[in-house]
């Protein structure tokens, strides 16, 4: 190919990806840069009314955040959500996918729909249902636990139980989506591999560890990255279920940002939170990619 041809092809490539790039620039790059810029200002409700009130404040927003105990509380809560929630949701999704992928299960399409349904239901409506399920005195969850002799738990009213309660709700709400991704991956694993391992004498767990998981490792990575990002950005569930309570035990970083920005109208400070959150997600994702590369998943 001559240099001229090459240039023409490159131009065509740019032209074809231009609409998508423009959309990404308009709706992602520009707002991201703008919010980074705003995080160095005291952008608030007065500045909204008149941009003349906008003042450049350097790192003051960041300094204040670092001194704010609620920020650290929200950071801590979010880390718990990530640390507990990601393995929980990934494992739950994978288990569900293996269930609906197994040959002995009857009515597989029905199961698939039933397990995927939570993901496409309205969050607010299901949150109401879950508040009933988690009710201390009349809830089904406590009733089931009572069958095993476990005393009633004040799921949404106790600072120790509220985070697990939200996690259970989030897990139930989101595993269906991951399940579909896992299911697609599982269906590409040749059945002969599993059979060869059976002949080699591998039990269920060994086959999972040495045959299935390595075969779907890239998908496990993808789902983990998506779930980590999702957990860092947890907002709607605590907002609807507990409004961050009790005793701020379910204030997540995004919930904190929402309050900073839209309750107290400290938009500059909110932008600073958003930028720190972005750095956190970026850092964790990079670590995940590094680990995956070392493990040979990609």
């Amino acid at each position: 190919m001559s240099a001229a041809d090459h240039g023409r092809e490159a131009r065509a490539g740019w032209a074809m990806s231009a609409p998508a790039l423009a959309a990404i620039a308009a709706f992602f790059v520009v707002p991201a840069i703008a919010s980074l810029f705003l995080s160095f200002t005291d952008f608030d409700i007065y500045a909204l009314a008149d941009a003349g009130n906008l003042r450049f404040v350097g790192f003051r927003n960041y300094e204040r955040l670092i001194e704010n105990p609620l920020f650290w509380k929200a950071m801590g809560n979010t880390l718990w959500f990530v640390v507990l929630g990601v393995p929980f949701i990934v494992a739950l999704s994978l288990f569900a996918a293996m269930l609906v992928n197994s040959r002995w299960l009857k009515w597989r399409p029905v199961w698939r729909v039933a397990l995927f349904a939570p993901y496409v239901t309205t969050l607010v409506a299901t949150a109401v249902v879950w508040r009933y399920l988690l009710h201390t005195r009349y809830g089904l969850v406590n009733y089931l636990l009572s069958l095993f002799g476990i005393a009633p738990i004040d799921w949404l009213g106790s600072p120790n139980a509220s985070l697990p309660a939200i996690l259970i709700f989030v897990g139930w709400k989101t595993f269906g989506y991951n399940m579909i991704i896992f299911l697609a991956a599982l269906q590409t694993v040749p059945r002969e591999l599993d059979e060869a391992a059976r002949i080699d004498g591998a039990g269920w767990f060994t086959r999972l560890r040495h045959v299935t998981l390595p075969a779907i490792a890239p998908t496990v990575l993808l789902v983990s990255v998506l779930t980590v990002a999702g957990m860092f950005q947890l907002f709607a569930e605590p907002y609807v279920m507990t409004q961050g309570g009790p005793a701020q035990s379910t204030v997540t970083i995004l919930y904190f940002m929402y309050e900073e920005g839209f309750k107290w109208w400290n938009l500059g400070s909110g932008a600073a939170v958003a930028f720190l959150l972005f750095l956190c997600i970026l850092a964790v994702t990079l670590v995940q990619l590094k680990l995956a590369k070392r493990g040979g998943a990609i």
């Binding site: 002969e192 591999l193 059979e195 059976r198 002949i199 080699d200 060994t206 040495h210 075969a215």
Partner: protein, 361 residues
């Protein structure tokens, strides 16, 4: 090592009965090939022996042991899959060692077994590679190596050559034969390719529609097929089958009234009996003789050394395929005298079953 007996194996998937009571005896050290068209149940039978499918009825014995209800790994079998089924994230060495490692065998013992198998198959230089870095033939060898390492009583092969190109298939066929001679392990080999069956087998089992059509050595099956199905399944081009009517002692008439001499054991057939005569393409001769039947050459497939010639006799009848050494003298459209030697004819009754005389030389 041990022999294999399958007694009245039945298998249904829902309403569909795939195996309809199959009984097979494989002697210790024998290389047995199960051959049949796709959907005949041959893979299901093999997978049942491996323990990957549960039989609906019947028993499977390896040596004296009833293995019908045992797990695949407890049966003393090793299987080579059509797709090789190598673990993609493990090296060749780890692939071959996997079974022993799970069985918690001693490290040095594993190394010894893998080394031995690698030497037999000439793949020592590949032990550090992953399957993705191997060619099709090399993967095939590794899959066989993994089977050898298990030191099974019985090897099971499920169409192991169908994913290879023609050239490699011929070479691997030869290697399979050599390997079996070296190891002497009882082998059950499934294929739809009759050439593989003919060249590899000590004994062939022809399966159709979940039932055994015939069992025998390749030569027996070729020379004395039990029915039209077996006769046409083995050999390329396949055996010509022509309907005739017995018209006198030792002779029969084609639909156009021409007469063909029948082999001696047909003497007893009464006049008017409807038969099918079969003749293999290589048994048809072209040449002048008093009882030659004129045929028009419809089409010649020239294969280099050999040619397949399609001969049109009576209108409406299927053309006869005839295989000859090709000297280039025949032309399409020529009318030639065709000889159907009586001693090369196979006779089949109206149901397609063979009418045999005494064994032919």
């Amino acid at each position: 090592m041990a022999g294999l007996s399958i007694e009245g194996a039945r298998k249904s998937f829902g309403e569909t009965e795939v195996l309809k009571g199959v009984s097979i005896e494989v002697a210790d050290g024998e290389f047995t090939v199960i051959v049949g068209p796709s959907g005949c149940g041959k893979s299901t039978l093999l997978r049942s022996v491996a323990g990957l499918e549960e039989l609906t009825g019947g028993r499977i014995l390896i040596g004296e042991r009833d293995v019908t209800d045992l797990a695949p790994s407890a049966r003393g079998i090793a299987m080579v899959f059509q797709s090789y089924a190598l673990y993609p994230h493990l090296t060749v060495y780890e692939n071959m060692a996997f079974g022993l490692r799970i069985a918690k065998a001693d490290k040095s013992e594993i190394a010894r077994q893998v080394q031995r198998a690698a030497e037999i198959l000439n793949i020592e230089s590949l032990l550090g590679r992953k399957p993705a870095a191997l060619s099709g033939g090399q993967r095939q060898r590794v899959a066989i190596g993994r089977a050898i390492v298990r030191q099974p009583e019985i090897f099971l092969f499920d169409e192991p050559l169908s994913n290879l190109d023609a050239d490699l298939r011929v070479r691997m066929r030869y290697e399979f034969a050599a390997l079996h001679r070296t190891l002497g392990t009882t082998t059950l080999y499934v294929t739809h390719d009759q050439v593989e069956a003919m060249t590899l087998a000590d004994r062939i089992i022809v399966l159709r529609d979940g039932q055994i059509e015939q069992v025998g050595t390749p030569r027996e099956l070729y020379e004395r097929p039990a029915n039209i199905f077996v006769a046409q399944f083995l050999g390329t081009p396949r055996m010509n089958i022509v309907p005739v009517t017995v018209s006198g002692a030792g002779q029969a008439t084609f639909s156009d009234g021409r007469i063909v001499a029948l082999p001696p054991h047909a003497e007893a057939l009464s006049t008017g009996t409807r038969l099918s005569v079969g003749i293999r393409p290589e048994d048809i001769a072209i040449g002048a003789a008093s009882d030659a039947l004129p045929h028009r050459i419809g089409f010649i497939e020239r294969l280099g050394g050999l040619a397949t010639i399609h001969l049109h006799g009576a209108a409406g009848d299927e053309p006869l395929a005839c295989q000859l050494r090709d000297d280039g003298s025949l032309r399409e459209g020529d009318v030639v005298p065709v000889l159907l030697p009586a001693d090369r004819l196979h006779l089949f009754d109206a149901e397609g079953r063979a009418l045999h005389g005494e064994a032919r030389e």
